[in-house]
Each structure stands twice: as C-alpha cells, then as structure tokens.
C-alpha cells in the first residue's frame, strides 16, 4: 500500500520549475517581506540619518555636504556637553545601583521566603508602568513643595530638606532613583533565574565543605553568576543611553538644563530648533556611544563562546 503522490504528470504548460516556484511563493512572501522590512529599515534608516548628519539640513532634509560641521557645532554647544556629562553620571549611577539593588532583591527572594510570588510581583510591577507615569509620579513625590519634604515638614521636622528635584547638582540623582524603581525588578528577575540555575551539586559540595551562607554566595554562587551580571549591566546601560521619556516627565531636563540627556538634546535639535542636520549628527554620536558599549560586549561574548568551544 504505497501512497506516494509521485508521478502525477503535470498537465499545465508551465515548466515544473516555475510551477514549483509559484507553489512556494506564499511561503517566500511570508518569510521575506517581514524580514526584509525589519532588517531593511535598520540598515536604510541608519544610513539615511547618517547621511543627513553630513548635510546642511535644517527644517527639511536637503542634499549637500558640510562634512563634520554639524558634529563640531553639536559638540560645541553647552547643552550637549552637559547632556553627555549627565549621561556619564546617570549611566554609571543608574547601572551600578540598579544592578546592586536587583542582586540584593534576588538574593533575598532566593532565601526560600514565604510569599515569594507576591513579593516578586511587587518588585516587578514598576516595569509594567510607562516611563511617563514613572516620571510623573516621582516628580510629585520628590517635589519639595508637595512631596516627601512637605510631608516631613508638616509632621513637625521643619528643617528637613529633600529638594534634589530643584537642586541643579542633585537633580540628576532623582532620575537615578526613579530609574532604579522602574528597572531593578527586571534585574532581579534575571539574577534570580541565574541563582536558580546554579548546579545543585555545587551547592551540596560547598555545604559539605562547610561553607556558611555568606561564603556560599561570595565564593561559590556569585562567581558563577557574573556572565549574567555583565549581560544585565549591558542591557541597563543601553536603557540609560536611550533614556528620554523619564526625564521629560520627571524634570523636563531642568532645573534649567541641569538634567539634559543626549536623547533630549537630539529631539530638541530635530523638532524644536528645526535643525535636522545637527540632530542627526547628535543621533549618530549617540549610536556610536551605544556601539562603544555593545561592540566590546559582543566581542567578549564571541571570545567566550570560542573559548568554550575549544575547551
């Protein structure tokens, strides 16, 4: 009982090759249209914005070539300098503190505590909330005239001051606080998965060796976790570089321009000052900053994989 569909001679005049091709057309469309749109827009848009950054475009894109003039003028503005300094400060503070808080939360949750699911959801829910909402809410809490400071003052401690939001030097840290609140649950989830995937035999061996909880973490568990630590920090760092909504809603870049970040400056150049060329140049520099983080990470991952493959 052989039930092969073979040998049915093609009655059409089309050649078998074309017929086979037509038969596979739907699947080619379904595969290639999304992939080409997705991959294509990345390539084309990157090239496009990069091209605009070398043109004298202002309100509308125009052809022309001004070399690096857009770049030098962006780099010359005080706005960009402050934004970039802020990015270094914010990036460092946000990434390190979020990772630390996330790690602390993960280790705490990992202690076989009761109500783990509820606690995990509590630490994770800020991730579901938009940066706009996060920024708005924290701007209220941190506002000295109506937030935490006002509450404490009203309760009688009238000399209490918590006015970072309106303090030029400290305002950037309010963004760090809101950022930690929003993202540390995400870091926790990844760390927790890492902690839970440490081999059980490793733990047993360390217990037999007599390691206490502290030594267990510092000497046995955390050393196996560092690839995840690096991955989490890279993800957080690229959040930091792209931060826009949070600042818009929390400080609006203020007081003054004290909390400007590159993403805001780019938007400002492009759509407020109507200078597409400079905005694009700033965007390209932001991309280069991002690549400065991602390329070493990619190279490191590649190296580790090669080493693992050769071992």
């Amino acid at each position: 009982m052989s039930v092969s569909t073979l040998g049915t001679p093609s009655a059409t005049r089309l050649s078998p090759a074309i017929l086979a091709g037509l038969k596979r057309l739907p699947e080619w469309l379904v595969i290639w249209v999304p992939l080409l749109l997705s991959a294509g827009h990345v390539v084309v848009f990157t090239a496009w914005t990069t091209w605009i950054s070398f043109t004298p475009s202002t309100l509308v894109p125009v052809d022309g070539w001004v070399g690096l003039r857009n770049y030098t003028s962006v780099l010359g503005t005080r706005n960009w300098k402050i934004a970039f300094d802020n990015l270094l400060l914010f990036g460092f503070g946000f990434v390190v503190l979020t990772a630390l808080v996330g790690l602390l939360l993960a280790i705490l949750i990992d202690q076989r505590i009761r109500g783990e699911n509820v606690l995990r959801s509590i630490f994770l829910y800020p991730m579901a909330v938009s940066f706009v909402v996060t920024g708005t809410v924290w701007s209220w809490l941190l506002n000295p005239g109506m937030g935490v400071q006002k509450l404490v003052n009203d309760m009688g401690w009238t000399s209490f001051r918590f006015d970072w939001l309106v303090d030029r030097d400290m305002a950037i840290w309010t963004i760090v606080i809101a950022g930690i609140w929003q993202s540390s649950g995400f870091a926790m989830a990844l760390f927790l998965a890492g902690l839970r995937s440490v081999e059980a035999d490793l733990i047993k061996a360390a217990q037999i060796d007599g390691a206490g909880p502290f030594r267990m973490y510092t000497r046995v568990i955390l050393p196996t976790l560092w690839p995840i630590v690096v991955a989490v920090m890279v993800i957080l760092l690229q959040f930091a570089i792209r931060t826009f909504d949070l600042v818009r809603a929390l400080t609006g870049g203020g007081p003054g321009i004290a909390t400007q970040l590159p993403a805001l400056v780019i938007y400002d150049f492009m759509f407020q000052r109507g200078h597409l060329g400079r905005g694009s140049a700033a965007a390209v520099m932001m991309l280069l900053t991002l690549l400065g983080v991602l390329l070493p990470y990619g190279a490191w991952k590649y190296y580790m994989r090669r080493r693992a493959a050769n071992a």
């Binding site: 009982m1 052989s2 039930v3 092969s4 569909t5 073979l6």
Partner: protein, 369 residues
Amino acid sequence: MSALVIRDLRKRFGTTDVLKGIDLDIDSGDFTVLVGPSGCGKSTLLNIIAGLETATSGEIEIGGRVVTAVPPKDRDIAMVFQTYALYPSMTVRQNITFGMECRNVPKAQQAEALERVAKLLQIEPLLARKPAQLSGGQRQRVAMGRALVRDPKLFLFDEPLSNLDAKLRVEMRMEIKQLHARIGASIVYVTHDQIEAMTMATRIAVMNQGEVQQFADPDTVYNRPANLFVARFMGAPPMNTIPATLEGEGDRPVVVIGAGEHVVRLPAPPSIGREWLGKSVIVGIRPECIAEPTRLFGSSTAAGLTITAPVEMTEPTGAETIVVLRLGGQKVLGRVAPDIRLANGALATFAVDTRKLCLFDPQTERLIA
C-alpha cells in the same frame, strides 16, 4: 533488485570532506547497518539518502529510480530517529497518520493502515495518548509505527536504540530484527554500536572518516576485517593487533611475535603471499582465539597449538573471564572459561586458534591474508 544504490557520493562542509566518494549497492530486503565511530559521516550519509541534506556530488537511486533531486516526501522512504521526533502536540494516532494526512489519503484508508500497524506493534491502547505520556520503549514503538504505516521502499533508522536503557535496548534489538524478518523490508540502519551491527544486520558497512572501510556480511566483517580499522572497531573486546614478522620458507610460513626468550611462533595462514616472507606484518587475533588449554576450537577434536605466557590481569565478566597476557612482550587479550582462576604475574598455558589469524600490511593497514 537493488533497494538503494549510491554512486560516488561526496559531501563537503566548507573545507572538510565529510563523505569522500561513497559507493554502496543494497539489495532489496537487506538489513544494512552503517556502523562507525561518531563523526565518521554515517548520519550525514543517512540524511542525504533521506533527502534532508544535499550531497556535493554523486547519485542516489531508491528502488530503481534516481532520487538525487527529489524532496524527502517523494522518495518513498520512512525514517526512525534517535530522539524519536514524535510531534509533541499530537496524539499517537495523529503522529502515525500525519504523513497520510499530508498526502491526502482518504480517512478510511488511514484508519485501516493505522489499525494494521497498531496491531503489528501492539500499541493499540496508546493511540489516544500524547508522546509525553509514553515511556521510552513506547515512544520507540510509536516512532516505528509512524515509519511502518507508510510501507515505503526503504526504511531509514538513525540510531533508534541509543536513547533506551540497556535492558530495553536488547529487547528492541530483537524485536526490530523479528519485524524485519516478518515484513522483509529494506532497511538502512545507522549506529555507532558494533554489537547492534553484528546482531541485526544482514550486511554491514563499516565507515570511518567519510569512507566505507568494508561492506560485507557480518561474518566476513568480523572474521576477515578488510583493514586494521575494521579489525579494531568490531568486536568487544576488539581484535588484538600485534606487530610481527613473517619467517619460514617454502609452504610453511610462520608468524614470529617478539624476540629472545619471549618469542612466540604461530603458523601463518597458508594464503599469505610469498613476497611477505622476511617482512614485518601485523597479526590480528581475536581474543576468543586465545583460551584455556583444554578448549577445542571448531570441529577439531585434537587440542590445537598451545603457548605459555605471563598473566598480567584478569577481568571476570561472569560468562567468561578476560585475560590480559603478554604475548612475545606485547599486551594481548584472551577469553577463558569463567571457572579458570589465573594468578596475576604467573605463567599460564593457553590454546590458540590459529585458523582465524589475520595478517595486515603495516603500511597500508589492509588485510593481506
């Protein structure tokens, strides 16, 4: 008629030649086992036969029809995988009938085929279950059912038993062999386990480094291995291969192993060419050809040749005892009856079956006698 013909098949991945010109002609009804160490190309060859991979060059013919450019579904084959590859979301019934569904076989005919196969494999009670609810042996049966229902020109088995535990493996081995005897199908079976090859095959193709080393019936592969690789790969423990020289004159050539007080002289196979006299050779001798002195080999009623050799170690397996001894200074394995007790380091006497000696050319490693 040939069930499968492979002509000068080559496969190249980048700069590595995975298959270096395979030629095989497999008769209809044969149970052919492709055996070899991992990375020898046997699985690639099977995938190419199935049409799942394309060859760099060469030709494949299944049931007299050239199928080199034919997609897998139209090759009239069925395949059983090492991981069984049962569709996890389908019931056993759907797993078995899925191929017929794809080929638009009428429902009634599907049911009929399903029933036939379920009965043959005794899996009727499992038909409504999902693969996750089956034991390893049951999954194995369902995977075979999926292949059998197709009634193809050629069955392909890709290490189907290697995920089973030892006991089940032995049972399934026999079952597959019986199944083959009953339905007389043409089977190509890939394994790295030489015992599976020996027990199941009617023909064995031993592969190494992308080449077929020997293609013959199990008896020939075992007793007359075409080269040193086959000699050392087949059999557990494998054939002893010992450097020696060929001496003697006229029609009585002698294999001389070792020198001085340890020297051992064994009569060489008479078929050895005279030109090998005085040259070094490698002598191959199966462990079971070195036994306790009271052993009678084959139909001979007289005790054969005996030698005396120091015992280095013994390994009782229950059914027999493996002896490590020194033969002319070389480490050699023998197999003696389980009740024989041999002291480590002591001299002992062994009977040697010299009818089955093999001689190999040390340069080309090929069998010369």
